[in-house]
């Protein structure tokens, strides 16, 4: 399994910081679906460290092969079309990590996640992050950065939103936000809570734990 090098701390496994934030929101021994699980880094962590019954959906052949070859339960498929196959409340958590903005119908995907899971965890890049705002203000071009390396014409990210946008959508869909965190440019996580405007300015990424 692809793993980042252990940093020598007490924590036996080390994963990407945004994935760690998601993992920290999950109770041990639960049933989890990672929708768009990539090479399975989070699933592997959840299974080994939290004894989670971990499942995944991944669209890329390469990703699925890496996952299944590593002993993870992953189905090759499309999150946008395949969530509807699962029964109501099949999972304790459904995770969508850095993928909502690439969906054609993000609202429908979120609705499906809430149908098949008791809770949903969504992480997303915040398009209102101050560096992106300044990029547009001063350059007048669509932002390109380490985290968002695509040009406007080849980006898979077709539905960017901001932290404020997502909070508004959750409200509109009557979803309660149980936890919300943002990551600043140093990779430090902070609670969003009531300070949405500040988080929307400072947060490069955000993670939400949602409940029906």
């Amino acid at each position: 399994m692809m793993m980042m090098a252990a940093d020598g701390e007490a924590n036996p496994k080390s994963i990407r910081i945004d994935l760690q934030l998601i993992a920290d929101m999950i109770e041990p021994g639960t049933r989890v679906l990672d929708a768009g699980c990539g090479n399975g880094m989070l699933l592997d962590y959840l299974w080994r460290e939290k004894q989670v019954d971990a499942r995944g959906i991944e669209i890329s052949t390469q990703g699925v092969q890496a996952c299944v070859s590593a002993g993870l339960s992953v189905v090759q498929g499309n999150v946008e079309t395949d969530l509807k196959d699962y029964p109501d409340d099949a999972f304790d958590y459904v995770i969508l990590s850095q993928t909502l903005q690439a969906m054609h119908e993000p609202r429908e995907v979120l609705a499906q996640m809430m149908r098949i899971g008791k809770r949903a965890i969504v992480s997303l890049p915040n398009f209102a992050y101050w560096r992106l705002r300044l990029y547009i203000m001063f350059k007048g071009r669509m932002p390109v950065s380490d985290k968002l390396p695509y040009e406007w014409y080849n980006t898979p990210n077709i539905h960017f939103c901001t932290i404020s946008d997502f909070v508004a959508l959750a409200k509109e869909m009557n979803l309660s936000i149980e936890k919300s965190l943002f990551l600043d440019e140093e990779g430090t996580s902070k609670t969003i809570g009531k300070s949405i405007l500040a988080a929307n300015w400072l947060g490069e990424q955000a993670v939400f734990l949602l409940r029906k």
Binding site: R55, G71, G77, Y86
Partner: protein, 398 residues
């Protein structure tokens, strides 16, 4: 093909009224309690020919059942006793291979209705002392699996670590998981379907009609007449063989190349290499296969529809199943296309089952599951490794 008419085939010779002569084991089961078939017929004294590789561990938790396809048999690893060709899955099963016989105890049995030692239509009906022929009851994939279950119980195994197979073997895998979910830890159905499609029933019907229209078939009673419908069976095999390949594979292998000649002959000889190849496939097949077996087994495939007991809803067949599944398909397989494999996956998901699914890139058609496909083998092996860890079996030493 006249040479075949004069000589009994290898399979027939092996049977020739004497003691069992083919390599492998053979056991007589269902002696006291008959095997009740889906048709309602009760079959007793069922012979099952099988072979095993590796060693069963102390708690009998490392057994893997391999299920063979329509024209396969239990000669998985070792050379075939009649054709001398390598075992049909010797690139998957063996020491250090995907199904590692150094770690697992592997079993494969000839299916019910088959012609390599397990009870089938060419055997003698114990009630009449004549070959069964068309009096043999029509069997189903479910019946094949219940016969395999008898064998597994005979071997003292309660739970199989895994059941794996491609094509019709995959149907048996699904049937195992459906009928005996508590006896299967992991199921690996490959290049298969949960119900036989109209197109596949149609192809099978062409094969059956080819056999039945051969005068030597004698209404199914050819054994009593000392004949064998070799021509019909060969044509059935030729037609079926095309469906196992892909246009790309046929083009790559043969194109329009001519067979041992520089120009077409304006006749009906095998001018093209592809014709010659198919004729060879047909004529070698009849040496090792019984025509009535072909009828019965293709019928069993046609009847296969796992959802039928649940108002056509496959998902309900697998609701809350404890079995871990790995479904695999191949991009160029048009006999059991990815779409049909995915239907299995959708049903399993709807039952919230533990399922993995991978579509393997290959241009070799349905036969890809028998060939050296590194990605296929890698995923297969990885899945088994993961299952071994979940099952508490020893992981492969790295």
């Amino acid at each position: 093909m006249s040479a075949h008419e004069a000589n009994a085939s290898g399979a027939e010779k092996a049977y020739a009224n004497g003691p069992w002569t083919l390599p492998g084991h053979r056991v007589c089961l269902a002696r006291e309690t008959p095997l009740r078939l889906d048709s309602g017929v009760k079959l007793h004294d069922v012979h099952i020919a099988y072979d095993t590789w590796g060693t069963l561990n102390g708690d009998k938790s490392n057994a893997i059942l391999v299920c063979h396809a329509l024209t396969g048999d239990h000669y998985v690893v070792d050379p075939h006793p009649i054709t001398g060709k390598p075992g049909w899955w010797n690139n998957v099963v063996g020491p250090g291979r995907v199904i590692d016989t150094d770690r697992y105890f592997v079993i494969c049995s000839n299916i019910l209705g088959g012609c390599m030692g397990t009870t089938g239509p060419q055997d003698v009906n114990p009630d009449t002392q004549k070959p069964w022929g068309l009096d043999f009851p029509v069997i189903t994939i479910g019946d094949m699996v219940r016969a395999q279950k008898l064998l597994i119980e005979h071997l003292g195994i309660e739970t199989l670590f895994a059941v794996a197979g491609g094509s019709m073997g995959g149907m048996q895998v699904l049937e195992w998981a459906y009928q005996f979910p508590e006896s299967v830890f992991a199921a690996i159905p490959i290049a298969t379907a949960a119900r036989h499609s109209a197109q596949n029933i149609a192809f099978n019907e062409v094969g059956r009609q080819a056999i039945m229209s051969d005068p030597d078939w004698c209404g199914g009673d050819y054994h009593s007449h000392g004949k064998h419908p070799h021509r019909g069976l060969a044509v059935a095999r030729m037609a079926a063989h095309i469906t196992y390949l892909s246009e790309t594979a046929l083009t790559r292998k043969f194109g329009r190349s001519l067979q041992d000649r520089d120009a077409v002959t304006y006749g009906f000889d095998a001018d093209f290499q592809v014709e010659s190849y198919l004729r060879h496939q047909g004529s070698t097949f009849v040496d090792r296969f019984d025509a009535n077996s072909y009828l019965y087994i293709t019928r069993a495939m046609d009847y296969f529809d796992l959802g039928q007991h649940h108002d056509g809803q496959l998902a309900r067949a697998f609701k809350d199943t404890p079995v871990r599944f790995l479904v695999m398909s191949f991009t160029s397989d048009w006999l059991y296309p990815t779409r049909e494999n995915r239907e299995i996956v959708h049903a399993l998901n709807a039952g919230a089952a533990n399922v993995s699914f991978v579509e393997i890139e290959s241009d070799k058609g349905h036969d890809a599951f028998l060939l050296d496909e590194p990605e296929f083998h890698k995923v297969f092996e990885g899945f088994l490794e993961g299952c071994a860890e979940h099952r508490g079996l020893q992981r492969k030493p790295s």
